[in-house]
């Protein structure tokens, strides 16, 4: 079973960390990834850019209708906003996809992630994945 670990952190606090301390934190994250790999639990990881560089696309107004089996918004306008829609203390900043037996095991892995020390980690089962074919 695959699980998505969504790592949240206060990105302003993160940006204020001196480079040497940040390098040490990254060493911890890299060790964590190696441990996942060794245990055959690693699938992928990504670090995300700051939310100030993000865009949120949102249909404003209108209503959702099912027209001949397709979902169509009628009367709304697509709008793009800067940043994520919701203001939150912690932002979604990175992810791991891991392979493990069950949710208990996924929580155990999440607890080992150094990021658990500074922000919440949301753990979600992945029910289906499609990926681009490897070249």
């Amino acid at each position: 079973m695959r699980y998505l670990l969504m790592l949240y952190a206060d990105e302003n606090a993160g940006a204020a960390i001196p480079p040497d301390q940040m390098a040490k934190a990254m060493e911890g994250m890299f060790a964590y990834q190696q441990a996942l790999e060794k245990a055959g639990a690693f699938v992928s990881t990504s670090a995300l850019g700051r939310t100030s560089d993000a865009r949120t696309l949102r249909m404003s107004g209108g209503e959702i209708h099912n027209v001949d089996g397709a979902f169509v918004n009628q009367g709304g306008t697509l709008k793009v906003e800067e940043g994520p829609y919701a203001e939150a203390r912690e932002q979604f900043g990175g992810l791991f996809v891991i392979e493990c037996e069950d949710m208990d095991a996924a929580v155990k892995w999440a607890a080992r992630c150094p990021a658990a020390q500074w922000g919440p980690i949301e753990i979600r089962p992945i029910v289906h994945t499609s990926s681009a074919k490897e070249a």
Partner: protein, 411 residues
């Protein structure tokens, strides 16, 4: 609410919860029903004691109210089995009225055996004992085991239904089965202790370790003839005695051989020594006693400077012959490094390299990394220490391992 009533209820909860629950559940085997009845009895106590005063015998009062609730519950169900149970409970209710607290039979040990029964999922035995004997909430237990409160609650409910469905008896096993069944009880208690020990930096962890020691004392009191129960209590006390020395004032991890022994709790150590001596003179030496004896040797070495590593290796030899456990082999290797050097120690754990369970077992990589560093194999040591770091939940341990890894590059 008056403080007196509050205190009396809390005292009863702490000292009598498990005793009353075990007594109530023993006949019906309905742990969940007994818990509900007892919870209502405690609620009634808190409501009526401040007005009417604390009864002379709070336990008997609580038991009578709980028994009445239990009887009512069976009356409401109304099946023939429930009708039978109802009559039994009514008769017992009358008996209770004449009961003094000394006369309430202590069935907590039988309840613990039911909780650690072979048909109960091993991962739930420890949570079940913590809930039924100590009255800990699913939220508190879940926090210690990294399981959400609601999930832990559901699992405990299912485990209790299983006890009822399978008709697991609340009894002390026969002499023949006793050692193996007791092992399961001791293991469950030790699992609670280990949770507390590993998370000792947190407030909740420290409390859980103390609860486990309380349970250990209870088993020793209820089964005074068992050397293994004493061995386990001694084992927990040795570890607990060192709790203040495990972290520096800044929160850094301090390994056993660098701990300031002035911070050790000598009273706990002396208690452990006494209990271990009593265990050793009582009968055959089991696993817990051997592990406690190893802790005793560590204490003696640190306090007197005596080089007793050969004794420690010897004790691990016996323990390994008894259990065949990879964890024992690993701890033995750390001791063997002191007597025969890191090369022999590494060779002794070579069989573990193919053991899949070691892939995410943090102590394996920590010990391996240390030994590889000692023989000067920097590259392999670097990899092992990195894996140990990556598998650590405790940031203090992770930092310590990272410092050992940095030593590799500096040395």
């Amino acid at each position: 609410m008056s403080d007196t009533a509050q205190r009396a209820a809390e005292r009863a909860a702490r000292e009598s919860y498990g005793r009353l629950l075990a007594f109530l559940a023993a006949r019906t085997r309905d742990v969940a029903g007994a818990e509900d009845a007892l919870a209502e009895a405690f609620a009634s106590a808190l409501a009526s004691w401040p007005e009417q005063g604390v009864p002379a015998n709070p336990d008997a009062w609580l038991l009578t109210v709980a028994r009445r609730r239990q009887t009512d519950a069976y009356r409401r169900v109304g099946t023939s089995r429930a009708g039978e149970m109802h009559l039994t409970l009514m008769r017992e209710e009358l008996d209770d009225l004449a009961m003094t607290p000394e006369a309430i039979p202590d069935r907590r040990l039988a309840l613990m055996f039911a909780c650690a029964h072979p048909d109960i999922d091993p991962s739930l035995r420890s949570p079940l004992i913590l809930q039924t004997i100590l009255g800990l909430t699913a939220a508190d237990i879940g926090a210690a085991f990294l399981i959400p409160a609601a999930t832990m609650g559901q699992r405990l409910v299912r485990a209790k239904s299983r006890i009822a469905e399978l008709g697991i008896a609340f009894e002390i096993p026969d002499t023949e089965d006793l050692p193996s069944r007791l092992d399961a009880v001791l293991e469950a208690i030790y699992a609670a202790y280990a949770k507390g020990w590993n998370d000792l930096v947190g407030e909740a962890g420290g409390q859980l370790a103390e609860e486990a020691i309380w349970l250990g004392r209870l088993v020793v009191a209820l089964l005074p003839s068992s050397p293994e129960a004493k061995g386990m209590l001694a084992l927990m006390l040795y570890s607990h005695a060192r709790r203040a020395a495990r972290r520096s004032p800044t929160g850094a991890y301090v390994p056993l051989d660098e701990q300031d022994t002035a911070l050790w709790d000598m009273e706990a150590i002396e208690a452990a020594e006494t209990i271990l001596r009593a265990a050793s003179s009582a009968g055959p030496t089991g696993r817990c006693q051997l592990e406690a004896a190893i802790q005793s040797a560590h204490v003696v070495r640190r306090l007197t400077g005596a080089d007793n590593w050969p004794i420690v290796v010897k004790l691990y030899d016996i323990l390994h012959a008894m259990t065949g456990s990879p964890v024992v082999l690993l701890n033995r290797a750390a001791a063997l490094a002191e007597t025969e050097g890191p090369t022999a120690a590494l060779a002794s754990i070579a069989p573990l390299a193919d053991d899949k369970r070691m892939a995410d077992y943090q102590p394996y990589w920590a010990v391996r990394g240390r030994l590889l560093a000692e023989i000067g194999n920097r590259e392999a040591a670097h990899e092992a220490l990195t894996l140990a770091m990556g598998l650590s939940t405790d940031p203090a341990i992770r930092n310590w391992l990272e410092a050992r890894r940095a030593d590799l590059l500096a040395g």
